[in-house]
Amino acid sequence: MIDKIRAKARELLESGQVHCFIGYEEGTRGKVRPAFIYEPQDADRLIWDERCTYNLVTYLHQFQSAPNPRPGGVRETPPPVGILVKPCDSRSLNVLFHEEQVEREGVYVVGLTCQGVKVNGQPQARCQRCAERVPLVYDLVLGGVPKTVGREDYADVVKLEGLSPGERLAFWTKEFDRCIRCYACRQACPACYCFECVAEQLDPPWMGIAIDLPQKQFFHVMRAYHLAGRCSGCNACEEACPMGIPLSLLNRKIAREVEALFGYKAGQDAQTPPPLATFKKEEELSL
């Protein structure tokens, strides 16, 4: 499997089909880190195992998304990139394709079938919920057909919904209060690609600069809402959070509501219009 990935990366780089290949390599202290391979001889650094939890699609922004040109200007086509994607990452990739952040032609997608990844030896809860074991978008898929498929039942979300508003507020206040506003969740998120984030806008000053509860609440609710119908559930935000805030509880709540209200799941394809950018005239939505 690893040999196939290395061979493919080498071939792509040698033929000049891509100028960079994004994958995983051995890091320090038994961890895995993202690898950016520019030379064919470096392709042997690439690895793939169950520790490869990061969503590499996040790194496509720096290669592929360029600001829109000024009127009359020509948009420069960025050089193509190769990337390894797991099924969850492929959903993020679909979101970026659909939002025209990344061009399909500009990316060579090496898909990997996945049985679930582990963080510090622990199987990830999101992998047990994951219903896809084969990437949804790829140029080449590697790996055998996996046997098990997970199921999402939103048990923890439903449990939280069962509490009274006061209890929920207490729960989220406790969680949000730990936030140190490092924005690691945003940086790790493949769907957070704004050049200027609301959190840092000074004119108008949406959020305020205090590291105080109202600002933290604002930041997390704002981010959750901005990801409505776009979050593919890769959980990179929660894994990146140094304070262990359960962001998946927030994002999956929205995903669940979006599916219930509008029958939409993020990242399934790159064609269906997103739920908040479209409407039906005759629909009953309780407000």
Partner: protein
Amino acid sequence: MATDFEPQIVGFLCRWCSYPGADLAGTSRITYPPSLRVIRVPCSGRVDPLFVLKAFQDGADGVMVLGCHPGDCHYVEGNYYTRRRYALMHRLLEYVGLEQERLFVEWISAAEGRRFAETVTAFTAQVRELGPWGREGKDGREGREGREGRKEGGNGGGRRREVS
């Protein structure tokens, strides 16, 4: 709950239906509570859910978003988007612990002055019942003092901007 509590409500009113509706309530001399602070917007579709969050962050006790009836939008389809956005926003805010009765989205036409007054009265009563948002007794951080203090050139306070 303190009986002398008067809620502060921020209302985003669409320029074509609800704002003239409020005008009609005024010219018809129908009284409604002074708790409502009206912000005129071109369309209810202009009301970014961020506005609502910002209002709650800065201490509003309730937020109203009023627009044209579906099908009557001056811009043809603005309020259909509003409907989808706030259906979702409602559920999200409720989930993070804000009582869903604090956010109110309704369609009020330019001819419905009386209905406007009744709606504002009913909503004010509803919020009064719930008590202050995010002040004493809730998280204990954002007291009324804190909010009053912030008006003196604090974070974003005293800044006047038209939303357009």
